[in-house]
């Protein structure tokens, strides 16, 4: 789709991935795209089975070509109208044979702010440092003296 976009800016650390993007649309429009499950599914590419509600799980099949066999499950944390929406999920949950339910989740947060010409959206996924493998990967980085740079993002998503 030939849409002129501003490149989202990134802030990376071991615990979080952060993206910020300015959308040329009113805040109410962006809010609907984020929190109406059907609209969310359209751009995210997942067919969600129910509406988002605080404290409730929502699941659905991915509609990304090649990944339709995978089910996504989100646990909605907070819905603060037109300002903030958050949910938890299991990152890196790609093996259908594995039960990820006992593993820590990451938190995905969408924050909206009005800005000149539209809406500034910040997307943060955090909590990677709580994942046990990530902690060990961090230890690995501390031990290593040569390729900390190469392995820099390992801990960010042993996910």
């Amino acid at each position: 789709m030939a849409v002129k976009t501003e490149t989202p800016t990134d802030t990376k650390s071991t615990d979080r991935i952060e993206k910020r993007v300015v959308l040329r649309a009113p805040r109410s429009r962006v809010w609907r795209a984020l929190t109406n499950a059907e609209e969310f599914g359209t751009w995210f590419r997942v067919k969600l089975e129910s509406a988002f509600a605080e404290g409730k799980p929502v699941r659905g099949r991915l509609s990304i070509p090649g990944y339709e066999h995978l089910t996504l499950e989100m646990l909605v944390e907070r819905i603060d109208p037109e300002r903030y929406f958050s949910y938890r999920w299991h990152p890196y949950a790609v093996d259908p044979a594995v039960d990820y339910s006992s593993e820590p989740t990451t938190l995905v947060e969408f924050t909206l702010e009005e800005t000149d010409g539209g809406t500034a959206l910040t997307i943060v996924e955090s909590g990677f440092d709580r994942l046990p493998l990530a902690r060990r990967a961090e230890a690995f980085r501390m031990n290593d003296n040569g390729w900390a740079g190469q392995i820099k993002h390992l801990e960010a998503y042993v996910a």
Binding site: V3, T5, P8, D10, I17, K19, V21, L23, A25, R29, A33, L34, W43, F44, R45, V46, R59, L62, I64, Y67, L70, T71, L72, E73, M74, W89, H90, P91, Y92, A93, V94, D95, P96, V98, D99, Y100, S101, T105, L121, I123, E125, L133, R136, A137, A139, F140, N143, D144, N145, G146, W147, Q150, I151, K152, H153, L154, A156, Y157, V158, A159
Partner: protein, 116 residues
């Protein structure tokens, strides 16, 4: 939240054994040593670790199965070294997850701007 799937993480299923292999303190120390001083023999890798050669060997094979290390002959002894390409792939995998959020943000942007 059982059997859920992170849509941010769907591009490299074979990264799972890689990260599982990293999930052990002894193995991480071995990788750290190989990074600093490799290639090394099992004898050298065992020194000062308080871990038996047998256990070190088992850990090296686990790392080897994940493609993180490999061994070669040096004279009469077998030495182990890092497979740096494999680690580079792990890094690329994580970059890819960040990139998938970029893609999702772009799709959202197109969606709200094209369908007021």
């Amino acid at each position: 939240m059982s059997r859920s799937r992170g849509a941010t993480a769907l591009q490299m299923p074979d990264a799972a054994p890689l990260f599982a292999a990293l999930g052990d303190a002894t193995r991480l120390r071995l990788l750290g040593r190989l990074s600093a001083k490799g290639p090394l023999s099992i004898t050298r890798l065992s020194e000062g670790t308080g871990v038996t050669r047998q256990a070190i060997t088992r850990h090296l094979h686990a790392l080897g199965r994940a493609g993180l290390v490999r061994h070669a002959r040096r004279g009469r002894e077998r030495v182990w070294d890092l497979n740096r390409e494999r680690l580079e792939r792990a890094k690329r995998y994580l970059d890819q997850i960040a990139a998938q959020w970029d893609d999702a943000a772009e799709r959202l942007k197109a969606f709200v701007e094209d369908q007021p």
